[in-house]
Amino acid sequence: MSNFFNKSDLTRQDADKIVSETLNNCDDGELYLEESKSESILLDDNKIKSSNYSSDLGFGFRAISNEVVAYSYSNEISKDSLKNSSENLKSTLKSIKGIYNHEIQKSNKKFYEDINPIEQKTLDSKLEVLNKVNDFLRKKDGSVKQVTASFAGEQKSIEIIRSGGEVLTDVRPLIRFNVSVMLEKNGRKETGVYGIGGRQSYDDYLKNDNWKNVCEEAFRIASVNLESKPAPAGEMKVVLGPGWPAILIHEAIGHGLEGDFNRKKTSAFHDLMGEKVASEGVTIVDDGTIDNRRGSLTIDDEGTPTERTVLIENGILKNFMQDRHNARLMNTRSTGSGRRENYRHIVLPRMRNTMMLSGNQTQDEMIKSVDKGIFAVSFGGGQVDITSGKFVFNCTEAYEINNGKIGSPIKGATLIGDGPSILKEVSMVGNDMMLDPGIGTCGKAGQGVPVGVAQPSILIDKMTVGGTKL
């Protein structure tokens, strides 16, 4: 646990006093202190290309009055610097009233351990794994022309100090291991990427030479793509595989259910609470409480314990995801969804692990039911326009379906749909819910935060596939 006060002229008593004085008449606010240590080690083009270590320390001070948020950050933790910030906040919030009146429950439950993954594995042994990955893939097949493998590890310690002296802390480990391979055959080049990670030590993910499985998967995706044909263009049936394809849920539904867009009425979902927004049998939750998952948090970045928030239950819209600010203005409670990339950024309501729960059909039944369509297994990334509700995501592994049978692989294509209506097009929900391998990062307002997704196989009756073949 970081001690933010032992290397500075700022004592905890000073900090308490400045925080209480500044926030005395505000509706909400806090001092957020953060120390992070991170590393990234990259093997590329047969060599260890870079090995970077980074440490970051700073605070963000926030004061809220009615709808107005004042924020000031600095990477100098000192009495002067905090006082400066306090003056900045006071000058913005000239007329002030009220107090934060929503009780936040407490919890002692933790969803990961206080470890520093960087220290738990020597640099030598990390380099050894990366070199093994390179050798393994290059020996595997003559078509392997490029291999990139990387480790990224982080430990982030945070402390939140509220007016009145309440203190909340958390220590968050996070790691990611990634392999990318490029194949070349008959003049065609294709890449395959796969990764794993979460909030445990590197070795928890690399047990039993698990790095080999990561390599095999990246190689398999690239090999499939070498044989791919141009993707079709137009509306058709789409079967999505389980796990990572749930970024569909993240883009199509998740962002539109974040509190800020709904308070501002700029989300296509803002007037649909209690309405049917998905087919019967579709239940979607956003869960911050799954042990060691990339999107899990013991407390959010405002100190609220996370929870499992039901967003859509059997087709009906039940809840938005809230931070304290938007919850207060919408007269509801925070769902523990207040997150920020780091102390340089303000808190926004964000997703954690967004999951569609299992139904009772099989993937096989879905494919058999499709005359003409595509079967999409893996995706690169996605994006949404929350106002019009239109969203896209990019396939990185997909196949044609003809007369109920899986056919040739097709080239990467963008799929586009309409968020508020796409879930009404879901006609089958599989019994095979799977979590993603722990690689997602969600971007919003210039801030990236780690997230997870999960879903079973699903059949969507109508979606536009953005290929080139008419």
């Binding site: 000031s72 000058s91 080049k189 501002k264 106002t387 536009t464 008419l470």
Partner: protein, 438 residues
């Protein structure tokens, strides 16, 4: 106030001395300071104010051909010491890489000419508030506009780059940015669009009322969109999309992508990759340019580069490390392009719009659908159906797809180039792309 050069220089030389003392054969350090203040408005009232004040330090240490790096925001001498120690320890066990080195001394920038990149004007928050009030008043004058969000950011930065070969240079830069996002609604739909202005000097920022008016106009015209059928059609890209195409091209000719073999433009030097009317230039010394620089992120002097001449690829974007791999000298593009642009074409915007009796005008794309290894391109799009040079109706929930190799060879550029951003393009037409819709 942003920290002065003396302060940054003293930190940089402290780092270099320390690294040398520990036994590093070479070292390079960047120290920067940046202060930025933002005011946000929503629906004509103050929503947030945000002030950030950040120092940043990054150091690379070399031991012969071994190299590693660290970065930190904590500039206390004691912390720097711990970090350099850690960095050097890591360097010792990092394997050698024959291409690792500081840049060639002869290529380092010798002098720093003033490009007028810093405007010391302080735009007080009260003035930002006044600007945003005017902007939102103008943006919300039509009653179909149901939400406005706008912001004004003022940034002042200073930096020093120093290395153990004696290079030491840096300068102040500033930027002022105003943006406006509006949401419009009618009985069929809700749509969002935006407009922004970003400049080195305050006096060059667009008028608040113009910015607000333009954002609103662009949003309202998107209301009640239709989805069209799947077809081959000629596509006209608004400037804000065509400049993105130029950025994708720049990524594909970075020496790193070429050296790794992961670009569809590998081995294409002196070959035709664009239509023969196309010229692409990267010019670092534009006065007040948003992408202007005296030297790149390694201290290497950067001159104007003709990347595409009459459709032929003439240069990659080369840094020291990847240059050595490719047997090329750095051309001062470590960190990418500077002010990148397509030379303007010779057809007017109006004539381009009328060139085909029916075309699709794209104003926004979503998704990360550019594959630089294969050149495949597929993105979600929003725009307008154009008939006989006129916007007929708004279009959405479609995708457009093609392959850059073909698309680049079919580009026709209008003559409406303006230097607004770090990447600039005229309006662009590409014939024969596939639209997927109904």
């Amino acid at each position: 106030m942003v920290k002065d050069q003396e302060f940054l220089k003293s930190k940089a030389s402290y780092c270099l001395d320390l690294a040398k003392k520990m036994g590093a054969t070479d070292a390079s350090v960047t120290v920067g300071h940046s202060i930025s203040e933002t005011v946000n408005f929503r629906n004509k009232s103050l929503e947030a104010s945000d002030r950030s004040d950040g120092l940043a330090l990054s150091i690379e240490t070399y031991l012969g051909k071994r190299r590693s790096s660290i970065s930190s925001s904590n500039l206390l001498d004691e912390n720097i010491k711990t970090l350099i120690d850690k960095c050097f320890e890591t360097t010792k066990i990092t394997p050698e890489d024959e291409f690792n080195s500081l840049p060639d001394k002869n290529l380092l920038a010798k002098q720093i000419s003033s490009l007028n990149l810093y405007d010391e004007t302080r735009f007080e928050n009260d003035k930002k508030i006044k600007y945003l009030k005017d902007l939102e008043e103008s943006a919300s004058s039509d009653n179909q506009i149901i939400n406005t969000e706008s912001s004004f950011t003022e940034n002042k930065s200073n930096f020093i780059l120093a290395n153990s070969d004696g290079f030491c240079g840096g300068y102040k830069t500033s930027s002022f940015s105003a943006s406006c996002v509006t949401v419009a609604k009618d009985e069929n739909s809700m749509e969002r669009d935006y407009e922004f202005s970003s400049k080195r000097h305050l006096s060059d920022i667009k008028q608040a009322t113009d910015l607000g008016y333009k954002a609103a106009k662009q949003t309202i015209r998107k209301l009640s969109p239709k989805k069209i059928g799947s077809e081959k059609i000629s596509i006209i890209f608004d400037k804000r999309i065509s400049k993105g195409m130029l950025s994708a091209f720049a990524s594909a000719i970075s020496a790193s992508a070429i050296a790794r073999g992961t670009s569809f433009l590998k081995d294409k030097i002196d070959q035709q990759v664009f239509a023969n009317s196309i010229n692409v230039i990267d010019k670092p010394d534009i006065i007040k340019g948003m992408g202007s620089q005296n030297f790149d992120s390694e201290g290497v002097n950067s001159n104007t580069l003709q990347l595409i001449q009459n459709g032929i690829l003439k240069n990659y974007l080369v840094d020291t490390y990847n240059g050595k791999k490719l047997n090329l000298k750095s051309n001062g593009r470590s960190g990418g392009t500077t002010n990148l642009y397509f030379e303007k074409g010779n057809i007017s915007y109006e004539d381009l719009m009328k060139k085909n009796s029916r075309s699709l005008f794209i104003t926004e794309t979503i998704g990360h659908g550019s594959n630089l290894v294969t050149g495949d391109y597929s993105v979600g799009a929003t725009g307008f159906l154009v008939e006989d040079g006129e916007f007929k109706y708004p279009v959405n929930e479609i995708t457009i797809a093609g392959n850059f190799k073909d698309m680049f060879k079919n580009i026709i550029l209008a003559n409406d180039l303006e230097f607004e951003y770090a990447v600039n393009s005229p309006t662009m037409m590409i014939e024969g792309m596939t639209v997927a819709g109904k």
